[in-house]
Subunit: 371 residues, 2 copies
């Protein structure tokens, strides 16, 4: 086993001075500006959106979101050590930016997840090929008449496979149309945001941050471990409040509870899990500050596994809600609605599987690396 | 821990003479005749089908099926020791009888399973009360016009709960109508069978068996452990061929594979599990013969748990197929079809859960009681 790195929040260790906070924020600001430059260059150079450079804007947008999230989370956790007015003004702007930039990718990956599941369920490529969200340029969806009146069956030549596989094909076409449209809108919104004066104000503030971090008076002598421990405490409390005993029991079928209730999208039972996902991210960023550049988190394995499980939870829950929402399209065929019902339930079981994975990953971490 | 009983098939133990086979068959024949008498008495006495005696015919039918299955299974396993012509003529007749008698109960419990799941899914009693299959007399379903044109919503007063809960209510009403009709037909078929000359021939043959078991010449000196071990070998081979590695992995999502394929009902992937269920039953009956009256099977716990898991597998698979079949009713509302899709997937996950339970019950038995 590799040598275990010390826990950065260990109260028996060395205090971590506020310098580390300033250095982390400066580094993230530099990352943000670099990603922004890359994004602009990629946008200028590549006229053909499907060329080899097509993924560059997506990568740059990812890097922009990544540093925006880290700056925002750090302002939250270490707010007692920062200029309060500045931090309070900055956070919602960063949240707006990363939210706006994430939507296009979310639509693409939701469509991919749903079509992949439909493919598995029908055992045939009953819809137009697997989606390739990263490399595929957003195209404008055809203007639709009264929603869903006549969802065209996928244009691939289908063998005669009976009603339900036609249902899967139609469900795939309906989801493709809905999510491609949503993705196109998200793409336009992101482009518009990046050209807005609101965005330029954020970029200016981040540029200032790259040279000078507005620490609160007297913060220089503070120990960063206290706010980091508080962030960990909030995470621990939220995890303790989760229904982990039932989540650890395989096939408990709870994720489908009230799945046919009209209040089902979003599911109220998901909220505490989504909250833990956000708190886990704040905890991870808080530790990055303490560990400093090049520092390796001794909890990296568990943090990574838990984060993956919670991402899967979020993605599956949103995909399930999308299937349920698509099923409310007026005048769809019963076979389409049936396929969407199966798809919804399959995604809710993914939600349940993600909770199980979170629960058992945590248990393995607890027994493998006692703290 | 209780004292461990010796394994009846242990080759180091005492041989089991053919007398035990004759005694077992005679005892089962006596059980059969007793159940038949009870069934006739209950049918004559209780004019009111909902009175306190209403369950007696069901209990008697259960006892009839129970002994018919045991006689049939025993004829199969120990056929080398029995008069071949007689055994070969007898088995299909017993299979016909137990099959005919089981259908009414199967329809009732399938409906109960589906309505219970719908209830959990919708979080409301959105259909007419929980089914009470054992005590509830089969009533004739109203003659239906073009199937499913206008499925009436359940007559209980429903609060305004939006489209999907109405979908659950309609799905419940549709399933109730289909399975009540099927149950009524099964009830009539069972009554007709019990009055047929074919049944009287079976009853006469069983009555003969109660007094004399037609052993093959030379069987008196045989050891019953050899045919019992062969039955166990057939079970072991079939279990070994099951995809136990993936079934032991929770949330493997395999039971839903090809769930939208038109060939999905019955699912081809279920066949080996259904076969193991039958072989396990033959194995259990073969051991009952060896253990003799009052004998306790040392493997009773594992045989019971495995049998329950496989029964659950069969029941959930049939309920899932019923939901899929109901969804093909022409002209149903999309909300009804959506609810049936969710219901189908929920039952397929029950199938998967049952495989998981079988796999892990077997593992626990293997580590807890080494053989």
């Amino acid at each position: 086993m590799a040598q275990r790195h010390p826990d950065p929040t260990d109260p028996r260790g060395e205090p971590v001075p506020a310098d580390a906070l300033a250095a982390y924020l400066r580094a993230q600001a530099v990352e943000f500006l670099r990603a922004l430059r890359l994004h602009r260059e990629a946008g200028t150079q590549s006229a053909a959106p499907c060329g080899p450079d097509a993924e560059e804007p997506a990568d740059a947008a990812l890097a922009l979101r990544r540093s925006a999230r880290r700056i925002s989370g750090t302002l939250h956790t270490y707010q007692p050590l920062l200029d309060a007015d500045w931090a309070e003004a900055m956070r919602p702007e960063l949240a707006w930016l990363s939210g706006t930039l994430s939507r296009e990718h979310a639509c693409a990956s939701r469509l991919e997840r749903l079509l992949t599941t439909l493919h598995r369920l029908s055992g045939t490529p009953a819809f137009p090929g697997p989606a390739a969200p990263a490399g595929r340029a957003a195209v404008a969806a055809p203007a639709s008449g009264p929603a869903g009146t006549a969802v065209p069956v996928a244009r691939t030549a289908l063998p005669d496979r009976g009603q339900l596989t036609v249902g899967a094909a139609r469900a795939g076409a309906l989801l493709d149309r809905r999510l491609t449209l949503a993705r196109t809108r998200a793409h336009s919104a992101a482009l518009q945001a990046l050209g807005s004066s609101r965005f330029h104000a954020v970029a200016d503030a981040v540029a200032l941050l790259a040279s000078e971090v507005p620490l609160r008076a007297g913060a220089a002598g503070a120990d960063l471990r206290a706010p980091a421990a508080a962030a960990e405490g909030r995470l621990t409390d939220a995890v303790t409040a989760l229904p982990l005993a039932s989540a650890g029991h395989p096939y408990n079928a709870q994720a489908l509870d009230q799945g046919l209730s009209p209040d089902a999208a979003p599911h109220p039972q998901d909220a505490p899990w989504l909250q833990v996902r956000l708190l886990l991210r704040l905890h991870r960023y808080a530790r990055e500050v303490l560990l400093g550049p090049g520092g390796t988190d001794p909890d990296a394995a568990w943090l990574g596994a838990a984060g993956q499980a919670l991402d899967r939870h979020r993605d599956a829950a949103e995909a399930a809600a999308e299937a349920a929402q698509a099923a409310r399209t007026p005048r769809i065929a019963p076979a389409t609605a049936y396929a969407l019902g199966v798809l919804h339930a399959a995604q809710r079981h993914e939600v349940e599987a993600a909770r199980y994975a979170f629960r058992h990953g945590r248990q393995r971490a607890a027994t493998g690396t006692p703290r």
